[in-house]
């Protein structure tokens, strides 16, 4: 996906970043109070907010987030209760809340969550326009995830980069100095690692984040996609079969058992030295840093290889926040979102997230976190490099259903575990996709 910078957006971004930096040293409370007075979003009197968010993976991210929440409360007098749920539980909880018409005032979930119930999301176009105008515009993927037609139904607060995590010693032992950036080279690396103490391994179970990230990369890298631009199912293609054959070879080179891995399995296996290459966010590296593990000096991150399509086909997690229409305090909710994403707040939070989260507004490219440690650098580009759920089609309810049902993950798992031939697995997945996209 191409970055779309204009002279205007860069000027705005620079100005905003400079403004943020100038204020960074001043008292947060003073600034917050001034912001509340000038904010275009005037909360309802007596408002209080309940926020449902995904449970943090990085403690410093949550600490920074809660500081911002406290600052918002002090500045506006609005009490904010934050509910933490595991990543996989946010969607069911929000689905139930929206269905019964009662629950949190703000829901911060994953991928295309707002598109599961677009008519039950408050129009946030004014917030998106305000923030986009002030901070250099939204990255293209954020706009796709946030908008339903011309209306913004969610604000993609950030993205979660998911890249190749590898042990330097493991790939060197396999005869490589870096992770190859082509499909054949990457397969050769994994096959060479199989003979060593630390083979490669990537989740092929029902792992929402990690499994979806790498199997979609594999599918798209071969030029296949579930649907075309008109949401017509085009999965049944030679490219998809080739992708299955490729993943089967990768799976055979992996450590045994990856078909049962969930989102936490690869973290455990990597930190325990069981695998020397996997795909993940920056949480493994951060865990090594915080706990002072030696592994921090022997690991790094790499982009996913580029396939025959000739461009990155990465799939990173989007984190959109939405305001259900049942809320009694839509303006307070809008003020809360706008407050969090002002440079004075967002920069602190981005630093606290130590590159686990990537900005969705172009202005934050200059955040010091992206230059503080070379091992974090590639995560800066996650939001600009990612494809979106439902690619090449729309990012609507059907795309959300297809992800929730792990159609692509199961297609590859069926092939990898020998349950089906690549052609049968593709045909099977096509049928499932047609059921959703009809």
């Amino acid at each position: 996906m191409q970055q779309r910078f204009t002279r205007r957006s860069i000027l705005k971004a620079t100005a905003a970043t400079v403004a943020g930096a100038a204020v960074a040293g001043s008292d947060l409370l003073d600034w917050s109070s001034a912001w509340a007075a000038d904010s275009p979003f005037k909360p309802e009197s007596g408002a209080s907010l309940q926020v449902l968010r995904w449970k943090r993976f990085i403690q410093s991210e949550e600490d920074a987030f809660m500081e911002l929440v406290a600052a918002f409360t002090k500045a506006t007098g609005i009490e904010v209760e934050v509910l933490n749920e595991s990543m996989d539980d946010v969607q069911p909880k929000s689905s139930v809340a929206v269905n019964v018409g009662a629950g949190p005032d703000l829901i911060w979930g994953l991928y295309s969550l707002p598109h599961l119930f677009p008519n039950r999301c408050t129009d946030l176009t004014d917030v998106a326009d305000y923030l986009g105008g002030k901070y250099g515009g939204w990255v293209p993927a954020a706009e796709t995830y946030g908008k339903s037609g011309d209306k913004w139904i969610g604000i993609p607060m950030c993205f979660g980069g998911n890249y190749i995590n590898y042990r330097n010693s493991a790939i060197e032992k396999a005869g490589f100095k870096e992770v190859p950036q082509d499909l054949d080279g990457f397969l050769a690396l994994c096959e060479a690692m199989k003979g060593g103490d630390m083979p490669a391994g990537m989740a092929l179970g029902h792992a929402t984040g990690d499994a979806n990230a790498w199997v979609h990369w594999a599918l798209w890298a071969h030029g296949a996609a579930m649907v075309d631009e008109n949401d017509k199912v085009i999965l049944n293609s030679p490219e998809a079969v080739a992708a299955c054959e490729y993943v089967k070879k990768l799976y055979d080179a992996f450590i045994p058992g990856t078909a049962s891995w969930n989102d936490g399995s690869n973290n455990k296996a990597f930190l325990a030295g069981e695998v020397g290459l996997t795909n993940n966010g920056i949480s493994i590296y951060q865990k090594a840093l915080v706990d002072g593990l030696d592994i921090q000096n022997d690991m790094d991150h790499a982009y996913y290889p580029v396939g025959p399509v000739g461009e990155p086909t990465e799939f990173h997690i989007a984190y959109p926040i939405l305001v259900p229409t049942y809320t009694k305090f839509p303006n307070a909710a809008k003020a809360f979102i706008a407050f969090l994403m002002e440079a004075e707040q967002y920069n602190r939070w981005l630093e606290g997230s130590v590159a686990y989260l990537t900005h969705s507004l172009q202005a934050f490219e200059g955040n010091p976190i992206w230059t503080s440690d070379p091992k974090r650098k590639i995560f800066k580009e996650a939001a600009n490099r990612t494809f979106v759920a439902g690619y090449k089609g729309s990012v609507g309810q059907k795309a959300a259903s297809a992800i929730a049902e792990f159609i692509v993950v199961d297609m590859f798992a069926n092939t990898a575990t020998g349950q089906m031939s690549p052609a049968d697995a593709v045909a099977d997945a096509t049928k499932k996709a047609r059921r959703i996209y009809r």
């Binding site: 045994p256 049962s260 959300a400 059921r435």
Partner: protein, 330 residues
């Protein structure tokens, strides 16, 4: 004067009012006492069941009540070309049929195993053993532990890289490579059945033990005097007297197993490649995660005939004796 006397008599002859009579009538009193129970049943059982069946006939999605679509969630044929037709709805959905097959297999194997092990443990605990009270308490432990906690424990036990079973067998030199408990479809199915049996045995064992203790010792004494062996005593005294409680306990056991959700969801989420999806987990995935409430409700509705059949089999199969229904046995 006469008129007023007559009027008073007429008033006296009308007797107690309707409300008083309703309050004093035995049948109406029974009705009043049953009303709260009926209200609870209607509110918490009939209404959700009816709503579920109604949703299965709609195209409802999250936040959208949907419209009536008849049986399209169960059967629908759509053609893309002259020779390119697909059957949609549950009827043409092989993942659904896979989940049906898996649910029946899971329920059958786990229920039989739970019954056999539970009965064995109950017979064992019915004897005079040292530390009998402590043993009975220990047997109950798996049932006391919250399901999700035991599921997480099993998830670790079955972990591809950190399994205590694989580790032990490797250390003993019995295997070279860790067992892929949850990555292989059949291993995953058996692993989940084991976890379910481990969790469900105490319920069966303790309930059957309670049943065993109601068998009068005089019957065993009489059987002994007649020269019956231990097997004959079990076959002709213990088992017939246990059948009512077996019917109840196995009905509940089958229902709990058929509708199992937590163990599957916490350990495999239906994976690998849908190999461990039960109807309950698939329904949840389609309705709540996928947003297709109508389709999810259709899967739940499809569970009803199976559950009714299970109840009928255990009720009419095991409770056919007249004396069990309050009549004399002839």
């Amino acid at each position: 004067m006469t008129d007023s006397t007559l009027r008073r008599s007429a008033v006296a002859m009308t007797g107690p009012g309707l409300w008083t009579r309703l309050n004093n009538d035995r049948n109406w009193l029974g009705f009043w006492f049953m009303l709260p129970a009926a209200a609870i049943l209607v509110l918490f059982l009939t209404y959700p069941l009816g709503l579920g069946i109604w949703l299965s006939l709609t195209d409802a999605s999250i936040g959208n009540p949907g419209k009536f679509v008849g049986i399209l969630n169960f059967y629908e044929k759509e053609c893309y070309g002259p020779d390119d037709c697909e059957i949609y709805g549950l009827f043409g959905d092989h993942v659904f049929w896979q989940s049906v097959w898996q649910t029946i297999f899971y329920t059958t194997v786990a229920s039989v195993a739970k019954f056999a092990i539970g009965l064995y443990l109950a017979l064992l605990l019915n004897n005079h053993l040292p530390f009998k009270a402590i043993l009975r308490a220990v047997i109950l432990l798996p049932f006391i532990v919250p399901t999700v906690l035991s599921a997480i424990a099993f998830w670790w036990i079955y972990d591809a890289q950190f399994s205590i079973i694989s580790w032990s067998l490797t250390k003993l030199g019995l295997i070279d490579q860790y067992i892929d408990f949850l990555g292989d479809p059949w291993n995953a199915r058996w692993s989940l059945i084991f976890a379910n049996v481990w969790r469900g045995v105490p319920f069966v064992a303790i309930t059957l033990l309670a049943g065993l203790q109601t068998v009068p010792p005089s019957l065993y004494e009489a059987a002994t005097l007649d020269g019956a062996g231990r097997w004959q005593m079990f076959r002709h005294v213990t088992f017939p007297l246990l059948t009512p409680i077996i019917a109840v306990v196995m009905t509940f056991s089958v229902l709990f197993t058929f509708t199992d959700f937590q163990l599957i969801w916490a350990i495999t989420r239906g994976g690998p490649a849908n190999a461990t999806h039960l109807m309950a987990t698939l329904s949840y995935q389609r309705a709540i995660l996928g947003g297709n409430m109508g389709e999810g409700a259709a899967i739940s509705t499809a569970m009803i005939p199976f559950l009714l059949a299970a109840i009928m089999v255990s009720w009419f199969g095991l409770q056919r004796r007249k004396w069990q229904q309050g009549e004399s046995d002839d």
